[in-house]
Symmetry: C5
Subunit: 157 residues, 5 copies
Amino acid sequence: MKVIGIADTTFARYDMAKSAIEQLKSMGTGFKIVRYTVPGIKDLPVASKILFDKYNCDLVIALGMPGPKEIDKMSAHEAALGLIQVQIMVGKHVLVVFVHEDEAKDEKELAWLSDRRSREHAENAYYLLFNQEYLQKRAGKGLRQGFEDVGPIRGEY
Amino acid sequence: MKVIGIADTTFARYDMAKSAIEQLKSMGTGFKIVRYTVPGIKDLPVASKILFDKYNCDLVIALGMPGPKEIDKMSAHEAALGLIQVQIMVGKHVLVVFVHEDEAKDEKELAWLSDRRSREHAENAYYLLFNQEYLQKRAGKGLRQGFEDVGPIRGEY
Amino acid sequence: MKVIGIADTTFARYDMAKSAIEQLKSMGTGFKIVRYTVPGIKDLPVASKILFDKYNCDLVIALGMPGPKEIDKMSAHEAALGLIQVQIMVGKHVLVVFVHEDEAKDEKELAWLSDRRSREHAENAYYLLFNQEYLQKRAGKGLRQGFEDVGPIRGEY
Amino acid sequence: MKVIGIADTTFARYDMAKSAIEQLKSMGTGFKIVRYTVPGIKDLPVASKILFDKYNCDLVIALGMPGPKEIDKMSAHEAALGLIQVQIMVGKHVLVVFVHEDEAKDEKELAWLSDRRSREHAENAYYLLFNQEYLQKRAGKGLRQGFEDVGPIRGEY
Amino acid sequence: MKVIGIADTTFARYDMAKSAIEQLKSMGTGFKIVRYTVPGIKDLPVASKILFDKYNCDLVIALGMPGPKEIDKMSAHEAALGLIQVQIMVGKHVLVVFVHEDEAKDEKELAWLSDRRSREHAENAYYLLFNQEYLQKRAGKGLRQGFEDVGPIRGEY
């Protein structure tokens, strides 16, 4: 039985964890989920560390929604660096799912994007734990989470 | 009995620690507070580490007020990275409460913001230690500390 | 028998791992290859750590293709820092092969560049493991991977 | 008997260590001083680490004078990050005293600033080691090292 | 007998290691030199770590020549951070000798600068290992490696 941690924030404007959890449950069994909510994205690195250390998680999905200001971009950068450090300290994946508020043209699209990106990274989490070969088959395919896939380079050389 | 560390600075122009301590005491019991004052925000990472190591803190609130210049922004960034590192080294939360001098339109608002943000993060500290479920119920709600909450995304998709 | 790890992504728009593996196989024997595919470049640091820890790799080639946007540049920077950290934690090389989408003038050149840079770093990987002296002879020669070598400084002083 | 380390550089254009040492000696007894000079500010992190490890320092004062160019700012940033890391590795303070060449309007002011900031941080070092309560009384008072204190926020809210 | 490591790259356009080694040999005895060549500057942190761990170096000189593009500046920054980390992990100096291609007005000056800076940092390496007092006497003197010394601040205050 694998344990998947979900770290999310009260700062985000959409319940991304709900989307991720729903998607995970739709994909199969063999895992249980532990959720841990913190105030903001800069709290996600230690939240992930706690999920690994205290809750024996095998993988964590860290969900956040940085605001549109310069200082929010900086917070996202700092959080991202911390989340990479946690991963290499424990040797386990944290799938970082950030939706920047200014990626979407309006609130409706922002909701759609938050839901979709969370679900597609939940799929990646599932494949990393249970079906690494599936990812390998899709290597170099220009896949994206949220907006449409860009796809592989077209044309010969 | 939990131990909450308060790290603050002589550089800040408002006694943010006083606000945080008052708020903590108003919320409940079951904890004691240790305060440690350093010169500036770049001293806060080691102050937090000392609060964890020597004073057995279970959580630290790190309070600082970066100035308005470019070099102050850089100091805040450096401190923030160090504070994330401390957290993942010890597996415990540091709630980072930074009020940037240029966030407020005048000194009166700066005082109000410093007080309010310190109090709201003190609340978060309390919930992280004693009532994690309360935070989870508020996940994705667009909460902010200091200025008004932005709230969750409105509208369906 | 040496073990060479190949970490690549589903985000990339070209199968850079295929090029690297082909090139490695053309160069000699005495090694086996383990491939591990992750979603994006920010997953490459932990992928490399896992390749060292679980698969006993002696060297890793980490392949990625950052997109053209500002946020993609930031992701590449964060990944690069994590990849350096992994290397100094384990004391083994990760050859980082990033092809930025905006380095090429069109998709045809992007495909060519992805193939060529992957192959030339695969050569470097081989020399680091099996023929360190070959690299030393080429020290200070202005070598590049992908586009043409710049060459050593011309002229006397 | 406490040990205070002084790390300084040949790059700086003022003997900041002399000012810091004079000030320390004027404040009291109960400590000895070890000085370690390196070429530039990026050598200060390891210099501090060596002062802690080999010379058993209880606190280090790291003194440097970054030049006015963009690359000097970057060096100061890199050094600052390393100095924070050293502190959280050993759980002891490094007081970082940087005087940027372009902070002063001419060489005379630069000399004054270098002397004064070094002395005021030497005072902070003394208080951190011997009189933590003195710092706590001055928390939130808008203190600065070098130029005049900004002071606490004026006015009620 | 001390061991000095020399880490250099095939990316550089000048054989900086040759200059450094010549200079070291001209300064005295009591040390041997180990050279390790890697492709680019981002490989220098792990090269230095390997020189410390496998070759028992007491000090490393890391030589590189970042290109003129924005991405080269970022690589230099990433490498510099990694090189600081290595130093504080092992408690030994890495003297980082970077010559940026755009520091010189033409190739002739670039060759001169590469030679001279490498030699002057080799001198610093020698003093750090064998004559720390010599550096201390020159503290605060505005020394530079490569271009002319700026010198100490002139005038009284």
